[in-house]
Each structure stands twice: as C-alpha cells, then as structure tokens.
C-alpha cells in the first residue's frame, strides 16, 4: 500500500471494512483521503463528523479526528466543533436518510447561517444500513422494501434545497467519475462557507437488487451513461429529461458565520476593556 494512503487509514484495527462487495461508499473513502493528500491537509487538523448509516461508517476507517454522532445529528455536532475550534477543517459525511430525512432541518439552518462546513451526501437512493427502506431521494416509481409497488412520492432535488437555503457551493458527482469527484471535493474543501457535494453511489445489495439494476459494475455503467457534465451543456433547454447533471452547479460568495462571530466577540471585548 502506498505510504500517503496508509498515513490516513486506521489499518491495524479495522480493515477490511464492513461494507458490501462493490459498495460505492468505499470508493468515496478512497477518493476522500486522496483529496486530503493532494491538498496537503494535516490529519491532525481535519475533523470528520458523521451520523448513523453505511456511509456514516467512513470516519471509523480514516485516521484523523472523527466524531460518530447520532442519526441525523452530524451537522449540529459539527457546528459545535467548528465554533469551538475554528481552525479545524470540519467535514460531514452521511447518507441521504441521515442528512435529508431526519437531519433535514439541521442541513437547511446550517446552510442559512453559512458556517464553514463541507457536507458530503452519499446518495444511494435508499436507507442502506437498516435494510433498504424508502428515502427522500428514492426516485418516483422505484422499489424498496417499504415501497414494494413502487414509490409514489417525488424525490428531493438536493441542489434546489441547498441553493434556496443559502449554501455557497454545490457540486454533484458519482462513484464512476473518480477524477471528477476528486476535483470537486478539492474545490469544496477549499471554499470558505457552507459547501455541499452530492455523490451518487451504488448500493448493489439493496437498491440495485430490488430494482434489478445488476451488480456494482452494471450500476456504475448506468452512472456513466446517464450523466452529463454541466460544462458540456451550452443551452439550458437542451438537457434530456432522463439525464442527471453532474459538475459544479453553484459557486458563489457570502460572508461566513465564524468570521462574523469572531468579529463580534472582539468588538464586545474591546468595549469592555
């Protein structure tokens, strides 16, 4: 194993990991530590925060400061870490159920406050850890164990939520587009403010099996064929409706919360003295 990879892994305790064969979450962990390495982030200055779920297991394998919290509560815990230690790079990683179902209001309010956090949402279209139930991102008509006749609900558009709630950065990528994923993660980690990266990931064991999508390789082929990069789109009207847009969809600037807080703290202290 390469030294720069070894450096970021808890190899002597936990490997091989518990994720199913071919699960995309492993690929995401792999690309995440390569991003850390390429950005030269010191592992003592990174804090990875997660809730509960298959995707939330990633911090358990990465050797940096990690915080495995309650289901859906990764963002409030991360806000606490960030406010107490503003110099840390705080990254939240979680599933679609964790961040967008039980934790949705935390997500919206953190975006509204524009706190310097990076949220990585692993969108595998269902609840993996608990056995394949419907999630807010399960597409309409798709099968899960709680929608055996097809999902009746419309799915969330994470981009629209992030944008209207006030996030400053949103990018979408997949576990097939690994170099693209590394690029957008790098961009998200260097932004100052609330940045969101949605990663489409395969869950071959549950979602893939229930929807007859085949094994991990077939699901990755589908990501390859069904996605289109935003930089290739010249006119907004020409996107076919069955295509998923990947790439950086939102990139803007807004004042960050921790900086405002620090300024206020200093001003009050000066007045007191």
């Amino acid at each position: 194993m390469k030294e720069e990879i070894k450096n970021y892994l808890r190899l002597d305790e936990r490997f091989p990991h518990i994720l199913c064969p071919g699960c995309g979450i492993g690929t995401i962990a792999n690309i995440l530590i390569r991003t850390f390495n390429e950005l030269n982030l010191d592992k003592n200055n990174i804090c990875l925060v997660s809730g509960i779920g298959c995707s939330s297991r990633i911090p358990g394998y990465i050797d940096c400061d990690t915080f495995h919290t309650l289901h859906g509560r990764a963002i409030p815990c991360a806000i606490g870490v960030k406010l107490a230690r503003p110099y840390l790079k705080v990254i939240i990683i979680g599933g679609d159920g964790d961040i967008l179902a039980i934790g949705l209001s935390h997500f919206i309010h953190a975006a509204r406050r524009n706190i310097d956090l990076t949220v990585i949402i692993v969108n595998n279209y269902n609840y993996g850890m608990t056995g394949g139930q419907v999630s807010p991102t399960t597409p309409k008509g798709k099968f899960t164990y709680t929608t055996p006749y097809g999902n009746l609900e419309e799915e969330f558009n994470i981009y629209e939520i992030s944008k209207s709630a006030g996030a400053i950065f949103f990018a979408r990528s997949t576990t097939y587009h690994v170099t693209h994923l590394k690029k957008v993660l790098k961009k998200a980690l260097t932004k100052k403010g609330f940045s969101v990266v949605e990663i489409l990931s395969q869950c071959p064991t549950l979602y893939g099996r229930l929807n007859r999508l085949g094994d991990a390789v077939k699901m990755l082929e589908e990501f390859k064929n069904r996605t289109i990069d935003i930089s290739l789109i010249k006119e907004p009207g020409e996107i076919p409706s069955d295509k998923i847009i990947i790439g950086i969809l939102l990139d803007r600037e807004r004042e960050e919360y921790c900086e405002k807080y620090e300024r206020l703290r200093k001003a009050i202290n000066e007045k007191r003295d």
Binding site: M1, K2, I5, F15, P16, G26, R34, V178
Partner: protein, 80 residues
C-alpha cells in the same frame, strides 16, 4: 497482530519492471469493478474470486483500478 499485516501483497511486474501492480488479497472482495473498468483488460479473477494481473505488460498506469477500488486492495506503481 492481524492476519493481513503478516500477509505480503501479491506483486506483479511488467517485463521491463517499470510497472508494478500490488494486490492485497485479504482486502479484495472480488467485486470486479477494477476488472471491468481497466481500459487494457490487465486484470482478471483468480481461483479464489479475488483479483490478479493477467497481463501486467499491457498496463498503462492510468491508476483507474486503484482509484475505483472500494476496498483499498489494488495499487499501481510506475518507475520513472
């Protein structure tokens, strides 16, 4: 100490010794992602349904297998 720390990775050299493919068999879950997406069809399943390098001479060191592997089981090195 855990088993894999004692176990050496399987190492495959190209004929000119410039490309080295290392497979940690204990980590590999045989999902086939690297086998399918390798542009040069270098890799294949062995008798344990884990990965081995069938024709390491064809490897172009694109690192795709290494980047896509979910289990940190395959690494490619290129000598300059």
């Amino acid at each position: 100490m855990k088993k894999f720390l004692k176990e050496e990775p399987q190492i495959y050299f190209s004929n000119d010794n410039k490309k080295i493919i290392k497979v940690i068999k204990y980590f590999c879950k045989g999902c086939g992602i690297c086998i399918h997406f390798c542009p040069k069809k270098v890799l294949d399943w062995d008798k344990d349904f884990k990965v081995f390098a069938k024709n390491p001479n064809d490897c172009i060191a694109c690192y795709l297998c290494e980047l896509m592997c979910p289990d940190f089981a395959i690494f490619v090195e290129k000598e300059k």
